[in-house]
Amino acid sequence: MTDSLANFLPLLVAVPLLCAAALIVHPKAKLLSRVLLIASPIFSLVYSILLLVAHKTTPAISVQIGGWPAGIAIPFVSDTFAALMLLTTSVLILACAAFSIFSKDSDERYFGPLFLILHSGVAGALLTADLFNLFVFIELMFLPSCGLIVMRKGLNKLAPSRLYVTVNLLASSIFVIGIALVYGVTGTVNLAELAGTAQDSNLVAGAFGVVFIALSVKAGVVPSHGWLTRTYPSTSPVVSSLFSGLHTKIAIVAMFRIYSIVFEGDQKYLIFFTILFITSMVVGALGAVGENNIRSILTFSMVSQIGYCLLGLALFSKSGLAAAIFFLVHNMITKTSLFLSASAIEETYGTGKLSKLNGLAKSNKLAATSFFMASMSLIGFPPFSGFVAKFNLFSEAIEMKSHVIAVFIIFVSIITLIYMLRIWNKAFWGKNSQQTLASSDQIERMVENKKIKFSLITPGFSLALLTLAIGLAPNLLIEITQLASQSLIDIEPYVKVVLNP
């Protein structure tokens, strides 16, 4: 069972790619596109659950692609961390695929293929144990995103997409420079062969420093967060939901992976991380307070949450990492749920501006419930998953005597409360939207169709229910995250399966 799971790991990349190919050949088959958009994430969902079950007994499994001998071949490795991330991303992709079908985005030509290629890039980036291959898969995520970001008709949003493409291209270029330096210094790009080298040699550490710079631009860590907050709000709603769950998070996962394997959690760099990530948390949260559009607020809040997710690196220890991985999973689900609810609002009312929305809680009870649950989870109220996630991080910070981190976790949560309350007050409470909006001629047309369709809200609502479920019964996920952090701390099984399969 475990052997065949290992041998078929490349299918996780191949199946979405083949589905995309089928859709390119049949560009007008709408039904086929809908079926494949749902089937492909379900496949990786099932596969990753099987992997998680298998990892209870075997910590890591690998396959050498093409049957080349170990050390020459590109290895795909799955451990608990990779499998958990695969599971989470599959859930998010499934929710976004469902939304795109309900909102008819999936009917646009080439939406399906681009979406599925992005999906396969995510799976590859999570599984590969080769630095250059990681670059290729990150590019495989980035290229279809360029297509998705310009998908909507009209030319006025092309300026933000230029920003997106150039900044990401620059980050990719820096990544390649880092890889060239790593190869020049060590003569290999296989992560398992590089295990622990950065701890011994400052040259290798410097080379990986360049890789880290590239990844932190991709992750949107302050001070390189500007592109993120300016481009995400201008894409079509479903695309920004998809990106929010995947792009920056894959960069975070890669940083976790590289730091744990190549640096073996070297303590001397942790102070830089602490400063950088706390700045991200604060700057993102304060930026969110100043925005006036639901999706802009959520994007700034993303920058702040990225700081939270990465705190695990600053608290590098088994339980610290477990808390960070828990937070990462919680954040991916919650943030995508919020984005999907905001997308449903924008699809229906044609705007996400706080000044033009009003009284949604009265007219759309389900949408309001969904948004409310996810916001509470984001802020960290019990009984949602956000409470458990923040509580774990906080108690870890206290335990590691990082009182500064602990203070900032609470402080930024309060700012989170402020900006989420702003959305809630302006968009959901107040008079019914119909009366306020009717005053403006321009918007009157949109108000005719004023109820958010039930189908549009279901993907976001299901994710909101999922965060509630995790908050009510966190033990299963805590257990899995402990195994996952174990696989990051104890890298011996990982190295062993890559080098001696």
Partner: protein, 116 residues
Amino acid sequence: MIISIIIGCLFAGAIYLILQRGMIRIIAGFALLTNAINLFLLSSDGISNREEPFSSGAGIEKMADPLPQSFVLTAIVISFAMTVFLLTLSAISPNDDTNHEHNVAEASEIENQERK
């Protein structure tokens, strides 16, 4: 020595051009940048060994390392695709970035209303 000077010049030109306003200059900057990076990748294993890696029968001390070459091949393909995409973006949008400060939220707003 010569190759490091060339890489240095290419990087300098690329950075200068990317920092300019105007899409075409930025694209030219990226073209220089990718060339600089390709040379950099190629030289990452030294450039003194120049025999064909396979089938020439050259010994391991003379043959060039094939791995950076395959890296470069991949990087060239990706950068070519991106250059074309960037050129398309610069050609089809109405305003150049040089004369128009864009408010992202506004743009999305206007466009949303057009869509309805």
